[in-house]
Amino acid sequence: MDGVVHAVHFLKGVLMVQRKKLQQPIGGQLDKKSTKHLACKLWNQRQLWLMLLPGLLFYLIYRYGPMFGLVISFKDYSPFLGVFESKWVGLEHFERFFSTPKFWELFRNTLTLGCLSLCISFPMTILFALILNEIRQKKAKKVFQTISYLPNFLSIVIVCSIFIDLFSVTHGTINKLIIQFGGAPIDFRAKPEWYYFIYITSELWAGLGSGAIIYLAALSGVDHTLYEAADLDGCSRIKKVWHVTLPSIMPTIITMFLLRVGNIIRIGADKTLLLYAPTTYEVADIFSSYVYRVGMGDHDYSFAAAVGMFESVLAALILVAANKGSKKLTGESLW
């Protein structure tokens, strides 16, 4: 249920833990105790295990439980019979899903949205970070930055409400401007061709500032002697950005790009459920929103679970493929 940005942070975390594991030598603790018996070691760690237990139970029940719950996509789940007693139907739900035109519609919409986000939000975030980095007065920079990530603190419901009002045909600011310039008002929300525009602009409005934080952190680490050398060569500001700043943060850009590509179809339902309207379903409906409607609306649990499973498996495969491809092409890898 987390948005793309969160998924990005999640996966960055994985990367970091894995690297740490390689760097950190095995602690002295192990040597001290390695002579002791296994049971004795466990007894010594009893307090640590006690602390770990609730968290471990959480992961087993609420993270691994649903994975095993996916068996219902091969069954005809009935709430009265329960997961175990329900009848096996094999791949019936998957066959039904793949044979409908809805499958291609969802596939196309999810991919379109993911690609638009990748092609627009991703470079815009980097551009924003670069522009912010060019401000030399520390105070001004801080003010701009603080304002830029303010929307990140607003809930998705508020962001969508703001954008629906902004583009509203009756009381929207955009239509007021259109009328002032002599145009005819447009019902943006009911028009499928404007749906992606609203989705992406709201994503930019809410996420640009917070997305830039990672790049700004990388930018602050750029070696200053490089700029001095560029100054001696008589480089202009734009040339310095292009030849010094950008190459310096390239590793971060590549990693983030990789994560975005890997998560391209992993789009949460929350925003779509708020922004779409029956007239825009044909372009707006994505896997996750469809799963929500079919599962929670029509109570067709097994079919919805099958659609969800297809999405999860595909997303995991894309991530692995993106990583493999990157390892081959650039030598950069997530794990």
């Binding site: 994985v14 833990v17 609420y62 603190f153 409400s161």
Partner: protein, 288 residues
Amino acid sequence: MKHKKKLTLFDGIVCLILIVFCATILYPLLHLLAVSFSIGFHITANDISIFPRGFTLESYFYFLENQSVIRAYGNSIVYTVVGVICNVLFTVLTAYPLSKSYLLGRSFIMKLILFTLFFSGGMIPTFLVVKETGLLDSMWSLIIPNLIWTVNLIIMINFFRSLPLSLYDAAELDGASDFTVFRTIAVPLSKASIASITLFYFMGHWNSYLIPILYLHDKAKFPLQVVLRSMLMEDQVEGLGQVVDISQLTPTGVKNAVIVLSMIPVLIVYPFVQKYFVTGVMVGSVKG
């Protein structure tokens, strides 16, 4: 700086872009605020920019008289406070043992946890597990199924690992138990990291709407975001319409008043916590 650099055209353009950008960020927020303080006539006429017209507090009074919105506000506060306490407590408790490289089975447990980042059962099977464990339609359905966010767990694990080992060694020589070391050394030293994850959990709870609409059915238990969502979806407010004069009070005005009030807790903490937000994002990503 050795020599003072003079402001160039480049600086001017950069500054201009950022001012325009910040204006586009702020304009919708100021407009929202203005609408919430305006009378219905001007909202319908659509002639409000960033200053209220026909100043009135009607929309806010409506909020104060509306039991269901007040109750939702209270629910949100309770869910957020209890939720954040549980989240932070169990995240820190789980992270500490996992930061010890000598913990038996550590790498296996880490793999188990990290795998959940790549693959999940998805919405429907998770819903069924929540249902089977009897949490449906209770406050705990919003808390227990998302007790630990893996990214926050990783932030804490990495922080605990970054503490110098010598700190622990001294305490262990004194015969302190793991729990004592955790309580007296590890937790007090990690206040900044704990503040970061607290902020993430706070925002998660206060702003979430999808999880409540999945797991709660009883309208009396709805948090504020769900009530806001129904105002947004129906473009109308329950009970409004037949009783009031549309030239005074409109659904948009009421909705915006509720939005403004829902932002208050966030705006109060924002100046104090935004530095933890920045460090949290950075710790959770590039550092390590």
